[in-house]
Amino acid sequence: MHDMMRRYGPGLTLLICLLVAFWLLMLVIVPNITLFEQSFRPYLPVVEVGGPKDFYSFDNYMKVFDGNVEKSLFGMSFEIPVHVYTFFLTILYSMLVTLVCFAMAYPLAYYMAKIVNPTTLPTLLLMLFIPLWVSEVLRAFAWWIILAFKGPLNALLQGIGLIEDPIRWTNMGYTGVVIGLIYTYVLFMLFPIYNAIQSLDTNQIEAAEDLGAPWWKTHWRIVLPHAKPGIASGSVMVFMLSAGSLLVPSILGSTTSQWFTQTIDQWFKDALDWNTASAYAFILLFLCTVFVSLALWVFKVKLSDIAK
């Protein structure tokens, strides 16, 4: 700080500090505190705000436990509150998306870092970037076209004789949502892993091969451990983006798929109950943070490694 004063003088230093303060206070901290505070207040007509009915309670949070539905899993049937169920499935399917993204991205990341001819790499990178520049809503829409009942995917599968009758892709629970999320976020897994593998000394791989390690063992013992920070940051990004996505579940969801963000959206836009929406948003933020911190702790990665 002292150093900054000497270089840029008091005026510029003050300006820089004010800009950062504006960002962190007015755009991040105070809004989140407001969200937290409002989530404990009841939803009231404007005239009653601040009146006798306006007191703090956990009522908004308790709404998560309202309305049981009966579900069965592995032959066991049980009752579960519908919003808890939604949240549970959101986390579960976000994990599935993260896993599939990793499985798809890792081989290509390795290919880009160690196998491909370095002179064609920039061209390959550029081609990978193209879908990233096309807006998320259009990418989801593209899959909406592909998965349509009379769409190209069914036509193709029927054409080559894999299926006889068209499949209702967007009416099979979370199928459409998962397909859409994977397509939308797989590149957020690819680039961090690519960066991590790139810094691995190729000699190490060759040494392992010379010493007779089979290819899977080279990956398991050398490449994967080295790529761990990249895998962790890619996974955190994909998981958080998937769990927080509203677009893809809304466009590609079926009648039986509900994403937790859609529940929040309904409280906010349809019920106009901002307070309960705040409570639900806070639950999403809190539990996702806990989940990610746990995952980072298990894999022994720090948050500051993620942004590399």
């Binding site: 510029l12 809004p31 407001t34 969200l35 491909v116 081609m127 193209i130 998320e136 009379k150």
Partner: protein, 293 residues
């Protein structure tokens, strides 16, 4: 590496590219199909009428203009705030740095839904406290709140880019300028910022595209105004015609043009660099031959 595995890996990369690009091709193709529903099967013949419809869709054009304004505002504010944050982080150390840096990074991970709702609630509540029910401009829902909400995490991306560039900055240059009698403003304007320009430019581009992409924050803060993403979204949910495909096709073409321009420029630079190196090598050889070295 084993020949078969090498071929398999090339094949995999190719399949991955097809997987990424085929949906975009399908979407573009549907823009030319003379079918009321956006699809490429069944193909009912070529038509350009969806482009004509697009041109007459005034709500869409307005949404497009809104998107550009929001993106420009987000880019400008994010660059200013993000650069300031990078300079601050770079010149402090210890625990304060860790906390501030952690907080800035964390904004990238906050779900957009949370950012949208919290921004909306804070500004409208603040207006309510200050002015009562009739709130003036900045405290009502609208695209300006979308801008603020988007800046809250996009600024962090700019910060990371500028911070990376700052690592290669030689602080001695600033010292020299100060010793030679430069003012603080001159040090900033003539020494530090020119070094940061590439990162600032990249940051502005990233911010612009991130803003165009944004849906979650905008959806909760926009009030009644549309941006392109929100408009397309509402169209997909409520009856849709291939005008969206026409728009998507145009956007993809624009992206491809940018990408091609970038690629051509990169190859040109690479060629210049290669010739330069070859010349240097020749000159060295000449020097050796003539016994000058």
């Amino acid at each position: 590496m084993h020949k078969l595995r090498l071929n398999l890996s090339h094949l995999y990369a190719l399949l991955f590219l097809v997987y990424l690009i085929a949906p975009l091709v399908v979407m573009s193709g549907a823009a030319f199909n003379d079918n009321k529903l956006p699809s490429i099967v069944p193909w009912k013949g070529w038509t350009g009428r969806w482009f004509v419809d697009l041109w007459h869709d005034e709500r869409m054009l307005l949404a497009f203009a809104n998107t550009l304004w929001v993106a420009a505002a987000v880019a400008v504010i994010s660059v200013v705030v993000g650069t300031a944050a990078a300079i601050l982080i770079n010149s402090i150390s210890g625990r304060v740095r860790t906390v501030l840096y952690g907080m800035m990074i964390a904004t990238i991970l906050i779900p957009g839904v949370v950012i949208g709702i919290s921004t909306m609630i804070m500004w409208t509540k603040l207006g309510g406290v200050l002015f009562g029910v009739d709130k003036p401009f900045p405290f009502i829902p609208g695209l300006h709140l979308s801008v603020l909400g988007q800046v809250s995490y996009i600024a962090a991306m700019v910060m990371l880019l500028v911070l990376a560039r700052l690592q290669s900055f030689d602080a001695g240059l600033e010292e020299a300028a100060l010793d030679l009698g430069a003012s603080h403003g001159q040090v900033m304007r003539r020494i530090l910022l020119p070094h940061l320009y590439p990162a600032i430019g990249a940051g502005a581009a990233v911010a612009f595209f991130q803003s165009i992409e944004n849906f979650n924050v905008t959806q909760f803060t926009r009030g009644g105004a549309d941006t392109l993403t929100v408009y397309v979204f509402s169209k997909v949910r409520s009856g849709i015609t291939p005008t969206i495909n026409a728009l998507a096709f145009l956007l993809i073409c624009f992206t491809l043009l940018l990408a091609a321009a970038y690629e051509i420029n990169r190859r040109r630079l690479a060629r210049i660099e290669a010739t330069r190196q070859a010349e240097a090598r020749r000159a060295e050889e000449m020097a050796e031959v003539t016994g000058l070295a």
